[in-house]
């Protein structure tokens, strides 16, 4: 992976000091849905190969922010995004940015497992095919197998790759979706409450998976579970009413938050 190529001078206010380079930089991001503003001047730096969790009460804008990072808000009617969003120095919102390539680099896993109603194999191979990452069958086979192995699904489904992906259990489906996302070799993985539809055992597997994936990908995860945020992330951003109230290393945010509201939220007294 290339080094960052940030050119602007940064104001001293925000960045968290760390040795990891900055992967995604958000500066004064504002998002409007028709006449309602969802995000107010959100500025944050997300570091490379780190897991950042976004927490906060419902409707606080965490998912909105997450969807800004791969322009999934484009398809939402009446949604306007302004402010600076850069990934490796590339302006995400610039008209010249190819949204197809952007979404290949910034993969996404959704709240509800949403495999395509195709075979397990085709689910994973679809992204490879549309981005032409491999064209001959043997290469695709290998990439599919690799991706499935990465998420620990290959052994479970090796003998039924051609059966429908929708026939798997919820946890398996979600891992299939993660395999589908990493098959196109993204740099960033966005996860929008990936475990909220899963039972505790499947949740534990996904969390273990995130732990392994952090070595190769920058991961941003939205979660409603404090414990999950504490378990899987290095950095935590606390959103409230469309602004980031607090951002810092997870240990610090959870043990010694600077904001009173953060303390109230993570201890369950509010939210």
């Amino acid at each position: 992976m290339k080094d960052i190529t940030m050119t602007e001078n940064l104001s001293a206010a925000d960045p968290v000091v760390a040795d990891a380079p900055i992967k995604i930089r958000a500066e004064k991001v504002n998002v409007h849905y028709s006449d309602k503003q969802a995000l107010f001047d959100v500025s944050v730096d997300l570091l490379e190969k780190q897991v950042t969790s976004l927490i906060g009460p419902s409707g606080c804008g965490k998912s909105t922010f997450l969807r800004c990072l791969n322009r999934m808000n484009d398809v939402v009617e009446g949604c306007r995004v302004s402010g600076g969003l850069h990934i490796n120095g590339l302006d995400i919102n610039a008209p010249s940015t190819d949204v197809v390539e952007l979404r290949r680099r910034v993969g996404m896993v959704f709240q509800k497992p949403n495999p395509f109603p195709k075979s397990i194999y085709d689910n994973v191979a679809y992204g490879i095919r549309i981005h032409k990452l491999a064209t001959n069958k043997a290469d695709i086979d290998q990439m599919v197998e690799e991706s499935l192995k990465r998420v620990g699904l290959f052994d479970e489904v090796a003998d039924r790759l051609q059966s429908p992906g929708t026939g798997l259990s919820g946890g398996q489906q979600q891992r299939l979706c993660i395999a589908r996302a990493i098959a196109v070799q993204p740099e960033v993985l966005l996860m929008d409450e990936p475990c909220s539809a899963l039972d505790p055992i499947a949740t534990a597997r996904i969390e273990g998976l995130i732990d392994e994936l952090r070595n190769n990908y920058t991961i941003v995860i939205v979660t409603h579970s404090m414990q999950q945020a504490a378990r899987v992330s290095n950095y935590t951003a606390f959103f409230h009413l469309g602004v980031i109230e607090e951002f810092g290393e997870t240990d610090q945010v959870f043990t010694n938050p600077t904001e009173e509201r953060t303390r109230a939220y993570i201890t369950g007294r509010f939210g």
Binding site: V100, N114, Y126, I130, P164, V184
Partner: protein, 431 residues
């Protein structure tokens, strides 16, 4: 359906009397409601059964028709007086005359002009055509005498099929001749291939359904080719790509209104535009198909949009999240998933088009056409129009033809609906 056990414990939780009364009233209302629903279903099924039985009872007799066996002498002096074996000359000969002389030979008692005329009516006035075909196919039979089954006249056929003692339009003499033929086994019911293999005719016994079937088929083909791609693409654009603003809203309202426009108006449009401005041929399947396509378009668009809407947004999100372009999302995921709905809607639209008469009357497809159409610009008629024409004809022989044609039309519809079900099953996928 009505006897679902409906007992409620009358003791226990329902302590007070008013609660008990309430529960009883509620259960009565439930039973009543279920009975109304069931009665509605029974009534609808009963009507359908009555319709089908009456149609079948009338139409099923058209499967057979009466044929009379005559000893035909292929007289060379009549067929080919010059002995040239020239096809042109042979096809112009008076074959009906051969039939007539065979009849006279069989019943020598018919001497007066009136009797002879009545006698000739026993056999179809077109029976000579089949003799001509035989001769043209094999000229070596000229000069021979052969026993040949010929199609009986329509009055004879109607008389033999009816169950009452009424002689219909047959005269006393004719009835006795028919009885004589029956006694000698020279008249019998045979499978009516004529009905399934020939075009329309003024003579009920010669009229067939194939011309109308072919016309309907060609017309529907044009209709499908014109309306399916246009309708599906229009719906996909409106649903997936068009911005949701005033203009697209107005278009949507107008499409819905178009679906409610009386079909005869589309016929007028076809007459004014396709025939008068573009100069397309009258009575041709291509014009009929285009007019019906106009009529079918709104149905297809509405059905397709509903099917596209039913695809869960999570599938779209998954594809977008992988970096699929809007076109890839639409054609790799959304359209294949909505295929069952699209096909069902389209086939329902085509079924409507199949049964449509009014717009076709205006573009001249109501004409009397004997030849079976083989191309899109041949004059043709369609099944419902054929039914209309036959039902309008005074000859009694057309009555069973009408019912039989309706049965054929219903069979067509049944096949199309079956196709819809099969396609639906084939494309259906769980998500």
């Amino acid at each position: 359906m009505t006897d679902i056990p409906n007992k409620t414990p009358t003791t226990g939780v329902q302590g007070s009397n008013s609660a008990l009364r309430n529960a009883k009233r509620r259960q009565r209302a439930e039973r009543r409601f279920r009975f109304y629903g069931f009665a509605g279903v029974v009534f609808a099924l009963g009507c359908l059964a009555i319709l089908l039985t009456s149609l079948t009872a009338r139409g099923v007799t058209a499967i057979t028709h009466s044929k009379i066996q005559l000893e035909i002498l292929f007289d060379e002096t009549v067929i080919d007086p010059n002995g040239t074996r020239d096809e042109d000359e042979m096809s112009r000969a008076d074959y009906q005359g051969l039939v007539k002389s065979a009849l006279r030979e069989l019943f020598p008692d018919a001497n007066s002009r009136r009797d002879k005329k009545a006698l000739y009516k026993l056999v179809s006035s077109q029976a000579g055509l089949s003799l001509r075909d035989m001769v043209l196919q094999d000229p070596s039979i000229i000069g021979e005498k052969r026993a040949i089954w010929l199609i009986a006249g329509d009055d004879v056929d109607v008389f033999r099929k009816q169950t009452s003692a009424n002689t219909g339009s047959l005269k006393k003499k004719q009835v006795s001749w028919v009885r004589d033929l029956e006694a000698e086994g020279l008249i019998e019911n045979q499978f009516n291939s004529q009905f399934f293999l020939s075009g329309d005719s003024r003579e009920p016994e010669m009229a067939g359904i194939l011309g109308a079937v072919m016309g309907s088929f060609l017309t529907l083909l044009v209709c499908f080719v014109a309306s399916f791609p246009v309708g599906v693409l229009a719906a996909v654009y409106l649903e997936e790509f068009a911005p949701k603003n005033k203009i697209s809203h107005i278009i949507e309202v107008n499409i819905n209104n178009l679906a409610a426009v009386p079909s005869i108006v589309f016929g007028l449009l076809g007459l004014a535009l396709l025939l008068n401005v573009f100069g397309l041929p009258r009575s041709a399947p291509v014009v009929g198909g285009l007019v019906l396509a106009l009529m079918t378009l709104p149905t297809i668009i509405i059905a397709t949009r509903a099917a596209l809407k039913a695809v869960p947004p999570s599938i779209r999100e998954a594809a977008y999240g992988l970096g699929a372009s809007p076109m890839q999302v639409t054609f790799h995921h959304v359209v294949p998933l909505s295929m069952p709905g699209i096909l069902t809607g389209s086939i329902i639209g085509m079924s409507q088009a199949l049964g449509e008469t009014a717009p076709l009357l205006l573009i001249g497809m109501v004409a009397f056409i004997v030849d079976i159409p083989t191309s899109f610009v041949d004059p043709a008629t369609t099944l419902p129009v054929q039914i209309f024409i036959w039902a309008d004809s005074p000859e009694r022989g057309f009555m069973e033809k009408t019912a039989a044609a309706i049965l054929v039309l219903l069979a067509f519809l049944l096949c199309m609906n079956l196709l819809a079900v099969i396609l639906r099953k084939k494309f259906e996928r769980k998500y």
